[in-house]
Symmetry: C2
Subunit: 449 residues, 2 copies
């Protein structure tokens, strides 16, 4: 049932834009959902998209602008005048508006803000701009419904009618004292089902989860997920209610975080997409490949250092890519489990028990794989001493790789560095070098070349 942009539909819109037929465009799109308008905008070139934005009402376009990719929005905003941008901002929720202002060139930010019709709205946006984007302050919107504890429910409904105009979705009504300090909350359902003469003080729930403006976005996401909250109030240092974070922003936040971790694990930094420019994609990918290259060059030196084995045990060199692959795979597996556990806060038990478990797991896997290698050697007619040496060295490499994969993320996390950086190329590369060295070193010890 979801709308899909078809080629024919798009061609029609493009044709109408080329004919500058604003009436027809409005006629077709006026009752479209903003998310569908956003999909259309993404398919148009920036000149066409700008024309579309100018043709439609700001209440749709302001929301559609928030749905499109940052790059697309940037290109459209470049083509709009400060007045036109201000008109869009006027319709946006304060949190979205602040995000857009932050994306603008600094020299026009003030111009745009000065042109926003609703001056209270403009002041709210300026206030939000001062918070770091990854904190509750940066995620929150100023739009909310608040009532004083001394009011009656009837007065509360009256006040709500007034305030609710600006609030797209009322999740909870927040109760504050005379100084504006957060005291509790009231659900719409409670308000609707309470007797008309009751006082707010009698029916509100004094227990309310909240965060401060400085709470990290990750923590806000964790609290909202843990307690299944759809909105959480945000207070300042004095306990004054200053905004709220809603679940839809958190859904985006969770998805972005998961995507960043996934990309990091694949050796891609920055938040890129398939549709980004070659330059942006290269910047995100090349550094990790260079890291891998240096790792590979390190292996070249290591193998060179053991080149006296070439004449008697050339098989060792044939098995090196296998050893490197095993070290890499095991390291990535171990680190992925730990990184996810750290993100979900369920890495429990002592370091020692974790150590023993990883060694146990590596032993089981290493023995199983070692037996396969010995079997292979037997079938391929390899010298038995050589296949045993390879199997034993591989087992050791697997154990070490599992330990590195487990403990590097834990250590990084303890030092306050995002452990996700440790999965992927970083672990693969270091385990490659380390594994190859260990493999030749142990082989030399056992075979004595």
């Amino acid at each position: 049932m979801a709308f899909q942009v078809t080629t024919e539909f798009l061609e029609k819109i493009e044709q109408l834009i080329a004919q500058q037929d604003q009436d027809a465009i409005r006629e077709i799109l006026h009752d479209f959902h903003f998310a569908d308008v956003a999909e259309i905008l993404e398919e148009l070139d920036s000149e066409e998209a700008t024309y579309l934005i100018k043709s439609l009402e700001s209440d749709i376009t302001s929301e559609a602008l928030m749905e499109v990719d940052e790059d697309v929005r940037e290109k459209i905003l470049e083509r709009l005048s400060p007045n036109e941008i201000a008109r869009e901002l006027n319709e946006m929720d304060t949190d979205d508006a602040a995000d857009v202002v932050a994306e603008l060139d600094e020299d026009i930010q003030q111009k745009v803000i000065d042109r926003i019709e609703d001056t209270d709205h403009a002041a709210d946006i300026v206030e939000l701009l001062k918070y770091d984007e990854d904190t509750a302050g940066g995620l929150m919107a100023k739009e909310l419904v608040k009532v004083k504890e001394t009011w009656t429910t009837a007065g509360c409904v009256r006040e709500m009618r007034r305030q609710a105009k600006n609030v797209t979705r009322v999740h909870s009504i927040y109760v504050v004292d005379k100084q504006g300090k957060l005291k509790g909350r009231l659900s719409l359902k409670d308000l609707l089902t309470a007797p008309e003469r009751a006082h707010i003080a009698d029916i509100y729930i004094p227990k309310v989860d909240y965060v401060t403006v400085h709470t990290e976005g990750e923590d806000v996401a964790r609290i909202m997920q843990k307690y299944d909250l759809e909105a959480i109030p945000v207070v300042d240092e004095k306990g004054t209610l200053v905004g709220r974070v809603t679940i839809d922003d958190i859904v985006d936040f969770i998805r972005d975080e998961a995507e960043k971790d996934y990309q990091m694990a694949a050796g891609i930094s920055g938040d890129v997409e398939a549709s980004d420019s070659l330059l942006k994609l290269t910047r995100a990918r090349l550094p990790w490949l260079v890291l891998g290259l240096f790792g590979g060059l390190g292996s070249v030196y290591i193998m060179k250092g053991f080149d006296e084995a070439i004449n008697s045990y050339v098989e060792l060199f044939f098995f090196t890519p296998l050893i490197a692959a095993m070290a890499g795979n095991v390291g990535v597996q171990s680190s992925a489990i730990i990184v996810q556990g750290l993100a979900n806060d369920n890495v429990k038990g002592s370091l020692l028990s974790r150590l023993l478990k990883e060694i146990g797991l590596a032993l089981i896997n290493g023995l199983a794989l070692g037996i396969l290698v010995i079997l292979f050697g037997w079938i391929a007619g390899l010298d038995q001493r050589v296949s045993f040496t390879i199997a034993i060295s591989m087992l050791s490499v697997i154990i070490v790789a599992a330990l590195v994969g487990t403990f590097v993320p834990i250590i990084l996390n303890k030092r306050g560095i995002d452990p996700a950086i440790a999965t992927g190329p970083f672990i693969t590369t270091s385990n490659d070098i380390f594994g190859i060295f260990l493999f030749f070193y142990l082989s030399k010890l056992i075979l004595g070349f």
Copy 2:
């Protein structure tokens, strides 16, 4: 501000459980949030946890049971009688209750259902059990507030007071006709701010997004995210309103999907956690390692096939792990971007333009890395012909690896297979083998050994 289970607190609870002091336990925990009770349950052994469940009121424990890990819940449920389980289910939302029943052994499912006090609730649970868990039918709950279009707002508020008892959060009020067919929706805000005498028919919004019971969970998630919905009604084949899916279930769904993709990319199948048993972890990890092992053994054969190069061009063998690492890294990068693009539905443009872009990207990266290899060769005093050969072969390997990484997920996706399976070990292993072969083959062509 979020609650943290401390060791001291836990010891105190364990002590009270050992003393069988139910009153003290109730005293301490009666106003705890269920999510915090869940955290405590996870730290206790299953006997202690069961005692705690039996000591507290079902309205808290039923929610706490839904928050704990499936393993923990399973162990607790094993220790409860059908009557005790039924008491918990009676308090749960129908969607949660159905999930729990589905987890029970088949021979006690019916017993438990027969013992649920509220028989309507039990019938709803039985109805939900018939849907596949990854569809809207499997995700939805029966709890919702619905009104008939012919009612007045005052009558609607009366009816809501009655229905809302069972509904934790009222997002939208759904409007149905006499046959129960979905006609539209009404927000609580609209109801609250509408004149008392108005008829629902005059104020409801006839445009409503909905899904059918058979809509895939992924599609439900996509629609809810795209349109920023907090709940979506679910209809059956005839258009009759049968339930609703709420955003909190979708948040869990999105997170689970992202975690599965991430694990798949790391070569871990099944949905495992750091705290799972050695056996479960081995089953999730070993198959991928065996795949990698076979890939590595394939490389052994390939290198053996080119062993005439050993005497004159031994450096090629030293560079093989580097080539394999590059092929693997580039393949994983390309596939991760495509897999993410496919998941977010933003892989646009024709296959040809994608092909050209990937080749362009691989050329840029490959040339940059090739220059580094030549520089290294110059510093290390390598034969210039050899370093150029390595650089050129590496460039070709990178281009091929990027193409494989891009097109394997696209092809899998077209055939209805989860493309995430293509990232990680699968791509790494096939690119290793393919890359090593290409490397030696091209080197042989150029150097003529």
